[in-house]
Every structure is written in C-alpha cells, then in structure tokens.
Amino acid sequence: MEHARPARAPLGDGARRGERQARVNTGGRRLTMKSGINIVVCVKQVPDTATVRKLRAEDSTIDREDPNSSGVLNELDEYAIEEGLRLKEAHGGEVTILTMGPAKAAETIRKALAMGTDKAVHLMDPALHGSDAVQTSYAMAQTLKKIGFDLVILGSESTDARTGLLAAMLAERLGVPQLSLANKVVVDGSAISIHRVTDYGYDRVESSLPAVVSVVEKTNEPRYPRLKEIMAAKKKPVTTFGIADVEIDPGRIGLAGAYTEVAEFAVAPPRAAGVVVKDEGDGGVKVADFLTSKKFI
C-alpha cells in the first residue's frame, strides 16, 4: 500500500536534464544496423510469488536479503529477455542485462546470463536502498546513459511493487520514444514497431530507435536456461557500478528522499466464502442484483 506524498522537488527538472544528456549519448546517433542492435534488458529480482513476502518492520521496504525467502527473476522480465534474445538472433548485436539491487540480485543476473544474454551491469549501492519508482528511474537512466543502448526492453511491471511506471519514466528521462505494453516487437533497420495490447485488441505503434519498450506476459515462450549457457554464464562479464560510477546524485535517491512512502501494511485477509445463489425461479434477477451491487454491470 503506497500512499503518494506531495512531490518535494519538481520531477521535470531532473528529467529534462536527463533528456538533454540522452540526446547527446544516444538520441543524435544514426544507428548502423551492420553491427546489430545494442539491446539492454532491465531486470529485477523479486520475492518468489510462491513464498510469503516479508516487509521489513523498520522501514516498510521489502526484505530483499531475507535468506528464507528466495529471490527470483521477475517473471515478466523473462519475456523481456526472450524478446531481446530473439531480436539479437534476427539482427545480430548484443543483449546486456541491467539490474539495480543488493548483492543477492547477482543470482538473478546469473539466471539472465544463463538464458543466453551476453553481459550484465549491476547497479549496487547502499544509498539506493528504499528508492521509489521515480528515483529508480533516475538511477537506471543514469546507468543507461553511461552504458549506451539502441533499445531498452523491460517487463511491463514487477510482481512485487506492480507500479508499472518504470518504462515510461525511463523513456522520459532518456528522451527517447516509449512503446509500451507490447506483445509483439519488430525491428526493421532503425525503425521499431510493436503491437500494444488494449482492451479491444491492439494498436500498432511505431517509432525510430533508440527507444524503450515494455512487454507484457505471454509475448513469447521464454527459454529455460540450458546447460551450455549455464556453464558459459560464469565467464560472462558482469560490471558492478556504485552510484558515483554513473554520476548519480546521492540526494536524489534512497528512502529518505523518496516521493512515495509506505504508510502501513497488512497481510491480505483470506478470501471470504462466495455467495451461493439458489435458483427459485428468480435466479437470474438475483445474479443481476449481485453484479449490480458490485458495480460489474
């Protein structure tokens, strides 16, 4: 349960600055597809949805170092990785994994590398603890500017916080187009087009590269790590950056400066027993009344 607080510093300012920088590093560059696509897939380690998730009593953040709860690669990010690998297989290039998280997130990096990605960047710094979506997008954007990219792919949300905000925030900060909620991604030269899932079907959205894409569940069939890549993963380069390495301003990250705060949390109550409608000739009306009362119709 996150409750928004009034923003302390105008977000636009930082974002604008980020945008200008992004233009310099990526926006102005003409893409030469000869060398393939430089793809960065952002991934996150999240608590396993099959286990009980714990929040730390002292600051209401997820206990990401709890040895009893296993951290797993955010399920939606598997689709992002698979999409990155497919684009690389079709066009050449490289897939780099980018994650922000504590030391334990290295497990998730290994899994992502074992799926066949080429290298990884781990943004890790105690100062990042408790960063909310706005701050995380700033930290990730700084890192992306440092490492460079043609295409950034993300899962549409993480299964822990479920804000679904990062792709949009990153695109804004990097000053590149955002193509969100894709279930199909096609790159043609320096153009990209996606199918954006909607309630009524899909929209086709096109832009030029560089761009940020978020993919939804079931976009593809994520591959399971194979032994060959599991063994190769050990030898793949993993670069660890602290905040200073990517010029992150410590005042703009971390729990103390977060734009949102978890005011309180409670365990979800067990599901109440359902209502059984007995049909005594008026079953249809009763069902309709029930649905109306719940505002379904």
């Binding site: 290994r110 899994k111 074992a114 069939e221 591959r223 399971y224 790590p225 194979r226 032994l227 060959k228 599991i230 063994m231 993963a233 050990k234």
Partner: protein, 384 residues
C-alpha cells in the same frame, strides 16, 4: 560431498521449472489418451535435454552423464513417460553412437539426436528373453554384397516408432566365436525397407511413451552401419546398461520424490475426523519413510555417478542404486496412493499415474533379480 555445484544446481532448477510449468499441466491428458507428447519433446529438445552428456562439437550441451541424471530426476518428479523418452533417446540411443561410433556415424546422427530433432532407440530385448540376452537372442545379421541383412524380432523397444525416430541400434548375432554367438550392433535408420514397427503396446504405465515390437525381414543396411567393432556388441551393451542403470535410478528417485511432493500437499488439505489427515502420526510416519527412501536412493545414485565420472569401476554401485531406487519408487507409489485414498486410484491424480509407472522400474534395464545377481557377482559369490 554430495552437494551440487552451482552449475548442476542451476540445471536442476531449470528442469524443475520446466517440468512444473510445461509438463505438469498437460501430461495427464496425453497419458490418458496414450499419446506421445511431441510438443513437450520439442521443448525438451530446445532446452538441450537430449544433448546433456554430449560434447558441444557434436551439437550437445557439453555436460556429463550426471547432468543427464539430474534432469531425469526432475522430469520424473512430475512424469515418467517424458523422463523415459529422454533416458532411452540419450542413454540407449545417442550415447552408444557417441562412444562406439565412427566419425561418419557421429556426424550423421549426433547433432540431430542431441537437439531432439530425432530420437534414438536401442533394440536389445527379444520376445524370447531380456535378462539372458545372449541366450534369448535369435535376431541375426549376415554380410551380403557389402550390406548387412537382418532378420528377427525385438520386443518392448522404447522410442522406436515415433514420427521422429531416427535410428535404432539393433543387437544381432553376426556369427560364432569359440562356440559362442558373436554379437554386434548395427544401426538401422527408421524407414529402412524390411524394418517394420508394430503398433504401440497397450501398457500398464509409461502410457505417454512409445514402446513397440520391431521386426526385420531381410532388412538391408550398408556394411558401414556396424557400430564399433564386429563381435563387440555384448561388451558395448554391458557398458551402456551399466550407465543406464544410474539413469533409471535417477528416474526412480524422481518418482519417489514426486510421491512425497504430492502427499505433502494433500495431507494438509484433506480432513478426516476433524483434522487434516497429515496431523495423524500414521500418515506422518508414512511420509517420513517415503522421504527417507527417496533421500537414501538419491545418495546411492549420486555415489554411483561420482565413481563412474571418476573413471572408477562402478558396476556394483550402479546395480545397488538401481535396486534401492526402484524399490523406493514402488514403495512410495504404494504409500502415496494409500494416502490419497480413493482419489489415489483415479487416473486424474498424479499419484495414480505414479502407481502405474513405478512397477516397470523394477523390470526395465535389468530386473531387480538381475541387479542382485550383479551385486552378488561383484562380491565374488559366483566362484563358489
């Protein structure tokens, strides 16, 4: 000593996830229809499971036999039909070609076998006998004009009649040496004229796997299809079966563990006399025994595999592993079915499937009696 390395653990987890996400939801239907699960096999191929112990230069994953065993255990925790399909394809089909084949034979078959595009099979057992192979063997092959001419029948051959079966290694009598039959193995590609595959057997278990009778009637293949040396067939399959026993042990441990997994869930939900049945000590002790059997059987196969990979003699250890783990599978399947009560007797519950799949583990790739004979022989009791 028996802690998995990071790579083995990552592989185990990958196969566990695959079995859970991909196999578990659909395998019951395949089983009930006695249908071969081509789509699952395709995905297992994509995952590299058919190439685990085969070097990368032959299209494999560059792992070892223990990696295969870990994968088989995780598959069999969910379903034995898919596990035996991989076991027979790799351990009986591809590995003899890798170990004994010529460069040409390896180049022709291994890349497609390792990727799962084609399945391999091995035809040893005959209608007249499986335990006493030389005694029961009637299939013959004679050289005629640069070709082997094969005649005879093979019984119970796994993976021999699927749409993607590529090649069957056929053990046949190719002559006589010192008054004993000379046995050789000959590679027979699927579809060779004179090689016919009967319709599938109706089996008690392993219902989504492919098992058939094969007949050879003046079936001709080129002389180069001889696998390894002429007259080495007996030695080849003794080696193949020693390894295969560790693989069957791993598969059995998987089934035994699957029984524990299923039971642990059920005894929390099922209530009798006002409590979850798992609260009763009679049930708890059953599950404790089941877990103990699975655990000790796992140690036995880990140990046999460790000796094998170290290049040490492992015949006795492999036989022990197969004996205790097939026992564990059978006992656990019986107990798990008991714990599930009437539902345990229903095919729609995995434990019903486990019950049907367990029995063959005490029979295939050497019966329990044969394992005891091997162990006794290794203890020197044959010289009495």
């Amino acid at each position: 000593m028996h802690r998995l390395s990071e790579e083995y653990e990552a592989l185990r987890k990958s196969v566990e996830d695959f079995a859970h996400d991909v196999v578990a939801p659909v395998i019951g239907d395949y089983y009930e229809r006695e249908e071969f699960p081509y789509d699952i096999v395709r995905q297992m191929g994509r995952m590299g499971l058919f190439g685990l112990p085969i070097p990368e230069e032959h299209g494999g994953m560059g792992g070892d036999y223990f990696a295969l065993c870990l994968a088989l255990e995780e598959l069999a925790r969910v379903d034995s039909s898919v596990a035996i399909t991989v076991e027979a394809a790799v351990s009986l089909g591809a590995m003899p070609i890798y170990r004994f084949g010529t460069d040409e034979q390896r180049a022709e078959w291994l890349p497609r076998l390792a990727s799962g595009e084609l399945l391999g099979a091995f035809g040893l057992t005959e209608p007249g006998g499986g335990s006493d192979v030389p005694g029961g063997m009637r299939t013959t092959a004679r050289l005629d004009g640069g070709e082997w001419v094969i005649n005879g029948t093979k019984a119970f051959i796994t993976n021999s009649g699927t749409d993607i079966t590529g090649v069957v290694g056929v053990a046949a009598i190719t002559g006589e040496r010192n008054g004993k039959p000379e046995i050789s193995t000959i590679l027979v590609p699927a579809g060779t004229p004179g090689f016919t595959v009967s319709k599938k057997y109706s089996k008690v278990g392993w219902s989504a796997s492919d098992t058939r009778e094969l007949s050879f009637s003046d079936c001709r293949v080129p002389a180069e299809n001889l696998l390894g040396e002429r007259g080495r067939g007996y030695a080849q399959f003794l080696q193949t079966l020693d390894e295969g026993r560790i693989a069957i042990a791993a598969l059995s441990v998987g089934l035994a563990q699957g029984c524990v997994d299923e039971s642990l869930g059920y005894v929390r939900d099922r209530h009798a006399f006002g409590k979850p049945i798992g609260a009763y000590q009679a049930i708890q002790f059953k599950i404790a025994d089941m877990e103990t059997r699975a655990f000790t059987a796992r140690l036995a196969y880990y140990h046999a595999a460790e000796k094998m990979l170290a290049g040490e003699p492992f015949k006795k250890e492999a036989a022990i592993a197969k004996l205790v783990s097939s026992n564990a599978a059978m006992d656990n399947a019986r107990d798990a079915t008991q714990i599930f009560g009437g539902y345990g007797f229903m095919n729609e519950y995995p434990v019903g499937r486990f019950y049907r799949d367990a029995k063959i583990l005490e029979i295939g790739e050497g019966t329990s009696e044969v394992q005891r004979m091997l162990i006794a022989r290794q203890l020197g009791l044959n010289d009495l």
